[in-house]
Amino acid sequence: MGMPNIVEVKNLNAAYGQSKVLFDINLHIKPNERVAIVGRNGAGKTTLQKCIASLLHPTSGSVVYDGTELVGKQPYEVARMGLKYIDQDKHVFLDLTVRENLELSSYATGDYEWDKVFEHFPKLKILIDRKGAYLSGGERQMLMIGRAILGDPKVLLVDEPTEGLAPSIVDDLVTTFHELSRDCAIMTVGQNLSFVSRVAERVYAMKEGRLVAEITDEAEIKNNSYCEYL
């Protein structure tokens, strides 16, 4: 008997108006697992993550997190339960300082232990009074992840984490994701296959709103051999 899944998605369908974008998605995430969803632009990766985080409402199907059904819940409730979504646009609150950004997350979660944030991202301590508008792309990514890990989430959904980042920062992110997964599961979506090969333990390939393959073999992940499905 294996470990129970922390997230279980069953027969999930979603649409924007009349346009259907997700078709019968079934997937799971195990505790402390690093999962990646890969696919071309418009494959439905972001929509899938937003549905899991309750930021979009699916037309049908189920998302169970830690034994609780999430469909119908408010996004803030889902975040407070420990399932956090990190957007791809690297948008931190521009008029707020790093301190205020962290304070907001602490206010939402009741977790004021910022040491764990600075342990992963010591640079944020130096930038504590800098406004979001003056942070680089990498610094914004650090702040977004730092904000998200307050409240000790069990699952992080990270959308396109490497987009627009310098290679050296991507390397740091690989290390960070490995460290973070000691405490929580991470589901990342993206098209940076090199990053996926270094981070993911399991990969779902997605095409035109459908999951077309699940790759668990370490060698296949390292060689990006799932490209044939995309």
Binding site: Y76, R80, D95, L96, E100
Partner: protein
């Protein structure tokens, strides 16, 4: 002759500043509501009029304007809470036109209610502070100085609330991006309620302090609408600092315009608004308009 003109000028400037105070209190709420919820809250003009009527009633019953001021703000707090929870929250996620139509309807219903309860006859409210203060040899009503001081205190209080409290920080974050605030685990709906109530109470306060300057009438909210929108548009939607600066400009343009030529009081602010918008279409402190 010169002394006479100087006295008129000082009186006009103080009158303009006190009007700026009223405009600021009334429009800061409009600005906050648009900034956070992306709604044009036309029902603020009802809360403004309701504040004036409540201060009239409570002052008449108790003899205390100050008790009336507190009572008016409390009454509007309750009304605004009910309106927000039952009506306004339904249009937050819809295009801004929906909120304009809906809140205009609430405003019209409110004016109808005022007519039903208080009748059509305008009501007087006595100034709670008598006497005059001498400024450069010109006597100006002490109450006008009080209104100016109150507006300044409210400006700094709102700035403190937005910049130094966690709720204010959340509101500023929500003005930037409400979706991200939800994803952090913050109940944005509660923030909307707090912001709407704060805005409405400030509108009521505007009505309360304006009441001794005018006869309180059911249409008083409608009368001030054009000037209030001018203030919001010149200052830039969503900017508190912009609202304050703009209120100062409009107050002085109205007051000094009237001193030069009476019809200018009505015309000049529109002229100023057109010039400013031609130079800076988003208003003095407005950022790029965003769709949500």
């Amino acid at each position: 002759m010169i002394k006479m003109n100087m006295q008129l000028l000082i009186s006009a400037i103080v009158l303009g500043l006190s009007m700026s105070g009223v405009y600021f209190l009334l429009t800061v709420g409009l600005s906050l509501c648009y900034g956070l919820m992306r709604i044009i809250s036309l029902d603020q003009f009802f809360y403004y009029a309701l504040g004036a009527y409540m201060v009239y009633t409570i002052t008449s019953l108790t003899g205390s304007f100050w008790l009336g001021m507190i009572g008016a703000m409390l009454a509007v707090l309750v009304v605004a809470f009910v309106v927000e929870r039952l009506i306004n929250k339904r249009v937050y996620s819809k295009p801004v036109m929906f909120s304009m139509i809906l809140t205009f309807g609430v405003n019209l219903m409110g004016v109808g209610l005022i007519k039903y309860v208080w009748g059509l006859t305008p009501k007087p409210v006595a100034s709670p502070i008598a006497g005059r203060v001498m400024i450069l040899g010109t006597g100006v009503p002490t109450y006008r100085i009080f209104v100016i001081a109150l507006a300044i205190v409210v400006y700094f209080a709102v700035q403190y609330f937005l910049n130094k409290t966690i709720l204010g920080t959340a509101i500023r974050a929500g003005i930037d991006d409400a979706e991200k605030v939800k994803a952090l685990g913050i109940n944005i709906s509660r923030l909307f309620t707090v912001t709407f109530i704060l805005s409405s109470v400030l509108s009521a306060l505007a009505g309360v302090i304006h009441a001794p300057f005018v006869m309180v009438s059911p249409e008083m909210g409608m009368t001030i609408t054009a000037f209030a929108f001018m203030v919001v548009i010149i200052g830039g939607l969503g900017s508190i600092k912009g609202t304050m600066v703009s209120a100062l400009i409009v107050g002085q343009v109205v007051s000094l315009g009237a001193l030069i030529w009476a019809p200018l009081a009505e015309m000049a602010p529109f002229l100023v608004m057109i010039i400013i918008l031609l130079i800076k279409p988003t208003g003095l402190y407005g950022s790029k308009l965003m769709h949500r």
